[in-house]
C-alpha cells in the first residue's frame, strides 16, 4: 500500500492547494481592474490556476504507478 499512500498524500496536497487557490482570500488578490496580456486578471488567474491543478493531478497520479497487471 505504500505507493498508494504516497499518491494519496500527494493528491491530498493538490486538493488543499486548489482549495486555497480558488477561495477567499487568495482569489480576492486577483480581483482587480488590470489585465494580463489583454485578458482581465481574474480570468487569467482562475484559468491558469485551474490548468496548474490539472497538471499537478496528472503528475501526482502518474508517479508511483503500480506495475501493470498487478491487480489488487
Amino acid at each position: 500500500m505504500t505507493p498508494d499512500r504516497l499518491k494519496n498524500r500527494r493528491l491530498a496536497g493538490v486538493f488543499l492547494l486548489g482549495w486555497v487557490l480558488f477561495n477567499y482570500p487568495v482569489l480576492s488578490l486577483f480581483n482587480r481592474h488590470t489585465t494580463l496580456l489583454g485578458i482581465p486578471l481574474i480570468y487569467a488567474y482562475v484559468f491558469g490556476a485551474w490548468a496548474l491543478v490539472i497538471v499537478l493531478i496528472m503528475l501526482g497520479a502518474r508517479f508511483s504507478r503500480r506495475p501493470p497487471g498487478q491487480g489488487r
Binding site: G18, N23, L27, G38, W50, V55, I57, R65
Partner: protein, 909 residues
C-alpha cells in the same frame, strides 16, 4: 440553406448515428473486444456532466455574472484530486457488492434498507425530472431559434407549439427508444451498458468540438483574438463591471458553497454515479480520467467568457444570453457553424437525458417497484415463474415514464424557468445524498435511522427553501407560507430562512439543507443503534480495502437453504444459462459437488444474493433470498455468525498477542544476557588482575631487593612465568570464545585417533597432577576407530576437562580417571574425579558461558567461566554432546561423545 427539412434531417440523422455507435459498441462487447475499456473513453463518458446547461447556460450566466458560472466546474476538478481516495473506494465497494445505482449504494450501506433505497430513488426522480425537462427544453429552444434563420427570434416570442408539432417531443420519444434498446438489453449481474457509454463518449466529443468551433470563430472571426475582445468589452461600463468578479467579501461564501455543491454532485448525480462507478470497467482507468476529465471541463469553458462578451457586444438588446452560442453564428451568417452548434447542443442534451434515464429507471425498478411487488401478498411473485423479462419490462416502462413526465414538465411548467436555475435546483436535491454516502464510506457508526433522518430533513428543506419560492416566482402558486412565513412567523419564510441574508437562493439552500442534513445524520447516528446487518455492511464498506475481495468470504447469512431453491430463484431473474454458469464457477472454485438435496452454505447464499443484487438491487435481493432461506433462530448458527464477524479481529489480536509475548521473552533474554555480560566482564577483569598483581608485586620485590639469594630469586621469577602463562591462557580463552561466537573459527576436520589425544592430554597436564599429587589413570581399549575432528580443538577439550578436574580435587588422596569407550556409533570419553563435586542445580548451567560453579567456602569462581562453554561448543561442532554427573563431596564425571560419522558441514562455529 437552413430549411426546416435540412435541420430535421441532420437532427434525426445524428440520432441515427448515435444508434449506430451504440450498436457497434454492443456488438464489439459481445465479441469480447470492448471499445470502451480504456481511460480515454471513460474520461469522455464522465463528461456527460456537461449538459445543455453547460452548452447554452454557461454563457448566459457569464454574461450576467462574469465568473459566476465557474464554481460548477472547479468543484469537480477539486473532487478529482481526491478521486484516488474517494472515487476509487466507491468503485471498489460497488464492484464487490455489485451496486447498481446510488440508491442501491446507500440502501446497501445501511443494512440493505429498502426504505432508505426508495427514499433516495424518490428524491432522485423528483430532483432529476426537471433537469431532464431542461434538456428537452434546450433542444426545443435551439430548434425553434435555428428554424427561424435568418431571423433571430427569441423563444419566448414563439407561440407554444402543440405537442404533436414539437420536435422535442419526437426527440424525447427517440431517446426513450434509445434508452430502452441499449439500456435494458439484458439483466446483467454487473449492470453495465457498453453501447450507451460509447454513445455518451461520442456525444462528449461532438459537444466539445462544436463549442470550440464557435469559440474560435467568435474570438478570431468577429474579433481579433482575446485581447481585442476584452478591450472592446472594457469600453462598455456594463461589461467592464464583470471584469472583476461580483464576489464581494460576503459573497465569497456563496462561491465556496457552490464549489462544495458541485464537488458533491459529481458523485451524487445518478447519471454521474452510473458512468463513474457502475460503468467503470477497470479501477485503474480512474488514474488517467482524474486529470483528463478536468481538462475536458477546462477546454469547454475557455471560450465561455469570450462568447458571452462577444454576444453582449454584438446584440444590444432583445437576445437572450442563453442563446448566444447559437445566435452569434446565425448573426454572422455562418450556416454550417449554426448547424454544428445545434447538433452540439443536442448532443449535450441527449447525452444527459440518456444516461439519467437509464440510471433513474434502474433505481425506480430496483428500489421502488420491486420492493413493493415483493411485499404485496396477493402478487405472489416470490413464488411465481420467470421474472427477468418482468424486471426488464418494469425498467422499460420506467424509462418511458421518466421521459414522458420530463416532457410534460417542460411543456406545461418548465417554460417559466431560466436554464440555469433548474439545473442548480436539481444539484441541491441530489447533493442531499452526500452526507449519507460519504459518511457511509468513511464513518462506520452512521446508522440507517441517521441517514433517513438527514435525508428526509434535507429533502424537505430543499423543497421548502428552493422549490417553493421558485414556484411562487413562476406564478404557479401563491401560498401564504411563502410570502409571510410558516405559521405567519417571518423568520420561517423560505427565503431568507431565519433571516440569513447575503447569499443567493442556491447558496442559501445549500447551506441550510446540507447543514441540517449532515447535522441530523451525525447526531441521530450517535444516538441510535445499528442492527447486525447494518453493522456488518458498515464494516464491509468502510474497510473495503482490508476485507477479502469477495463478499461471500465474509458472509453474514446464518441459516440454511436448499441449493435447488437458490438455483431456481436465480434462474427466474438471470435465466438458466447464466445461473448454471455462475453456480458452476462457484462450485469449481470451491471444489464442491451438489446433489439434489444439498443444503447451501452461507457463502453460497451470500454469493446468490450478490448475483441477484446486480440484477434487482441489494434491498430487493435480500428480500428474495430471504424467501427461500430459513434463517435459524438463535443457536449455534448465531454463535458461528458472531464468531465469523469477529473472526478477523480475533485473528489480528492473537497475532498481536503472540508478537507481544515474543518481544517480551526476547527482551527478558536480552536482559539476562546483558547481566551475564556484566558479570563476565567483572570476572574476567578480576581474573586478569590477580595474576597481574602477583607479577607486579614480585617485580617490586625483585626491584627493591637486588641482592636476594639465588634460589629465592629463581622461585620468584618462576612465579612470574607461571602467572604470565595464566594471563596468556585467560586471554586466549576469551579470544577463542569470541571467535567461536562470531563464527570466525576455522576447523580442520581430519580423522584422528582419540586414544592418542587422551594420552597426550594426560602427558601435558602431568606436571599439574604431580604438583597436587593426584593419581591419574588412563583406561583406553586396544583398538578404537578414528573419529573426524580438529585435533588441536579436541586436545583443548581434554586439557580443559582435566585441568578442571585438577582444580576441584581435594588436597589429599585425589585421583582422576579417563575412560574411553567404543560404542556402535560413537566414542564416549569420561573424565572422572573424586573432588568436591558440583551441586545438582549447577550441572546444566556450568556449561553456559560466563557461568561458574561457586566453590562454596571460598566464594569466588575458579576460572574465567569460559572453559566449559568453549568445551561444549567444540564437542557440539563435532556432532557430539557433553554432560556432567556429580555427587557433592564425592566427585564428578564429565562425559562427552564423538560420533564416527563426520558431522555435516558447519556454517557457524
Amino acid at each position: 440553406m437552413l430549411t426546416t427539412g435540412t435541420i430535421l434531417l441532420v437532427a434525426f440523422g445524428y440520432m441515427g448515428l448515435l444508434f449506430a455507435v451504440a450498436h457497434l459498441a454492443d456488438r464489439r462487447a459481445a465479441q469480447g473486444r470492448s471499445i470502451i475499456s480504456n481511460p480515454y473513453i471513460y474520461a469522455l463518458s464522465l463528461a456527460v456532466y456537461c449538459t445543455a446547461w453547460t452548452f447554452y447556460g454557461s454563457v448566459g450566466r457569464a454574461a450576467a455574472g462574469g465568473l459566476a458560472f465557474l464554481p460548477t466546474y472547479i468543484g469537480p476538478t477539486l473532487l478529482c484530486t481526491l478521486g484516488w481516495v474517494v472515487l476509487r473506494k466507491i468503485v471498489r465497494i460497488s464492484k464487490v457488492h455489485r451496486i447498481t445505482s446510488i440508491a442501491d449504494f446507500i440502501a446497501s450501506r445501511y443494512g440493505k434498507s429498502s426504505t432508505l433505497g426508495s427514499m433516495v430513488a424518490i428524491i432522485a426522480v423528483l430532483g432529476i425530472i426537471p433537469y431532464i425537462a431542461l434538456q428537452l427544453k434546450a433542444i426545443s429552444m435551439s430548434f425553434n431559434i435555428i428554424n427561424h434563420y435568418p431571423l433571430i427570434v427569441m423563444p419566448r416570442y414563439v407561440a407554444n407549439v402543440p405537442v404533436i408539432e414539437d420536435t422535442a417531443f419526437y426527440v424525447a420519444l427517440l431517446l426513450a427508444l434509445f434508452a430502452i434498446l441499449f439500456g435494458t438489453r439484458h439483466l446483467d449481474a454487473t449492470e453495465r451498458h457498453e453501447g450507451v457509454v460509447a454513445a455518451i463518449a461520442f456525444e462528449s466529443i461532438i459537444k466539445l468540438l462544436a463549442f470550440l468551433c464557435v469559440g474560435v470563430v467568435v474570438t478570431y472571426g468577429m474579433f481579433q483574438g482575446f485581447g481585442d475582445l476584452f478591450a472592446k468589452a472594457s469600453a462598455l461600463p456594463r461589461l467592464q463591471e464583470l471584469f472583476i468578479s461580483d464576489i464581494r467579501t460576503g459573497q465569497y461564501f456563496g462561491w465556496l458553497l457552490e464549489i462544495i455543491l458541485s464537488m458533491l454532485v459529481l458523485v451524487c448525480l445518478p447519471r454521474q454515479f452510473q458512468v463513474i462507478i457502475v460503468e467503470n470497467v477497470n479501477e485503474d482507468h480512474l488514474q488517467k480520467a482524474m486529470w483528463l476529465f478536468p481538462l475536458y471541463l477546462l477546454a469547454i469553458n475557455v471560450f465561455v467568457l469570450p462568447i458571452a462578451f462577444g454576444g453582449s457586444l454584438y446584440f444590444t438588446a432583445g437576445v437572450d444570453a442563453d442563446t448566444f452560442v447559437l445566435t452569434l453564428p446565425m448573426a454572422m451568417r455562418h450556416e454550417a457553424l449554426a448547424l454544428i452548434v445545434f447538433i452540439g447542443g443536442m448532443s449535450a442534451a441527449t447525452g444527459m437525458v440518456i444516461m439519467a434515464t437509464v440510471a433513474l429507471s434502474t433505481m425506480i425498478c430496483n428500489d421502488l417497484v420491486m420492493p413493493v411487488l415483493l411485499r404485496l401478498p396477493f402478487v405472489r411473485i416470490a413464488r411465481s415463474g420467470e421474472l427477468s423479462s418482468m424486471v426488464l419490462n418494469i425498467r422499460r416502462g420506467s424509462i418511458a415514464l421518466v421521459l414522458l413526465s420530463a416532457y410534460a414538465y417542460y411543456h406545461f411548467i418548465g417554460e417559466a424557468y431560466a436554464l440555469v436555475s433548474i439545473g442548480l435546483i436539481s444539484f441541491v436535491a441530489v447533493a442531499q445524498f452526500a452526507p449519507a454516502m460519504l459518511g457511509g464510506i468513511f464513518w462506520k457508526h452512521g446508522t440507517c435511522t441517521g441517514a433517513i433522518s438527514g435525508l428526509a430533513a434535507g429533502f424537505a428543506l430543499w423543497a421548502y427553501t428552493l422549490v417553493l419560492p421558485s414556484l411562487v416566482e413562476a406564478g404557479l402558486i401563491t401560498p401564504e407560507a411563502a410570502t409571510r412565513g410558516l405559521l405567519g412567523v417571518a423568520a420561517l419564510r423560505p427565503f431568507p430562512l431565519f433571516g440569513l441574508e447575503g447569499l443567493d437562493p442556491i447558496a442559501h439552500a445549500v447551506f441550510w439543507t446540507l447543514l441540517v442534513n449532515a447535522g441530523l445524520y451525525v447526531g441521530v447516528s450517535l444516538f441510535s443503534r445499528q442492527n447486525a446487518l447494518e453493522h456488518t455492511q458498515a464494516a464491509l464498506f468502510v474497510d473495503v480495502f482490508t476485507y477479502p475481495a469477495k463478499p461471500e468470504d465474509s458472509s453474514i447469512w446464518r441459516g440454511t437453504a436448499f441449493v435447488t431453491d437458490l438455483r431456481s430463484l436465480l434462474e427466474r431473474f438471470l435465466g438458466t444459462q447464466r445461473t448454471t454458469e455462475a453456480l458452476n464457477a462457484f462450485a469449481d472454485k470451491r471444489k464442491i459437488r451438489w446433489g439434489p438435496l444439498s443444503t447451501a452454505n452461507p457463502a453460497l447464499v451470500t454469493y446468490a444474493e450478490t448475483l441477484l443484487a446486480g440484477a434487482i438491487g441489494s434491498a430487493s435481493a435480500r428480500v428474495m433470498v430471504a424467501s427461500v432461506v430459513k434463517e435459524e433462530p438463535l443457536g449455534l448458527g448465531e454463535v458461528m455468525n458472531i464468531l465469523d464477524e469477529t473472526r478477523q479481529v480475533i485473528a489480528y489480536s492473537r497475532e498481536l498477542e503472540r508478537a507481544h509475548s515474543e518481544l517480551k521473552s526476547a527482551n527478558l533474554r536480552l536482559k539476562e544476557l546483558d547481566r551475564l555480560k556484566d558479570e563476565f566482564i567483572s570476572t574476567v577483569t578480576h581474573e586478569l588482575r590477580t595474576p597481574l598483581t602477583a607479577v607486579r608485586s614480585i617485580a617490586e620485590i625483585l626491584h627493591a631487593n637486588p641482592r636476594l639469594p639465588q634460589d629465592q630469586h629463581r622461585n620468584l621469577t618462576a612465579l612470574v612465568v607461571k602467572e604470565s602463562e595464566r594471563l596468556t591462557r585467560l586471554i586466549n580463552q576469551v579470544l577463542d570464545f569470541q571467535k567461536m561466537e562470531t563464527g570466525k573459527m576455522e576447523w580442520q576436520m581430519l580423522p584422528v585417533d582419540m586414544r592418542e589425544i587422551c594420552r597426550e592430554a594426560l602427558a601435558s597436564v602431568r606436571q599439574l597432577l604431580d604438583e597436587k599429587r593426584i593419581q591419574a589413570n588412563l583406561d583406553v581399549p586396544d583398538h578404537a576407530p578414528p573419529v573426524f575432528g580438529d585435533r588441536d580443538r579436541l586436545m583443548q577439550v581434554m586439557i580443559n576437562l582435566l585441568s578442571n578436574a585438577v582444580k576441584f580435587c581435594k588436597d589429599v588422596g585425589s585421583r582422576v580417571d579417563v575412560h574411553l569407550n567404543v560404542l556402535p556409533d560413537r566414542l564416549e570419553v569420561a573424565v572422572a574425579d573424586n573432588g568436591v563435586g558440583i551441586r545438582a542445580e549447577d550441572l546444566e548451567v556450568i556449561f553456559e558461558e560466563f557461568r561458574q560453579s561457586w566453590q562454596g567456602s571460598r566464594g569466588r569462581p575458579a576460572g574465567s567461566g569460559l572453559g566449559l562453554a568453549i568445551t561444549r561448543r567444540i564437542v557440539e561442532v563435532h556432532g557430539g554432546r557433553i554432560w556432567a554427573e556429580s555427587r557433592l563431596g564425592l566427585g564428578s564425571t564429565f562425559t562427552f561423545t564423538l560420533p564416527f560419522k563426520a558431522p555435516p558441514v558447519q556454517e557457524k562455529y
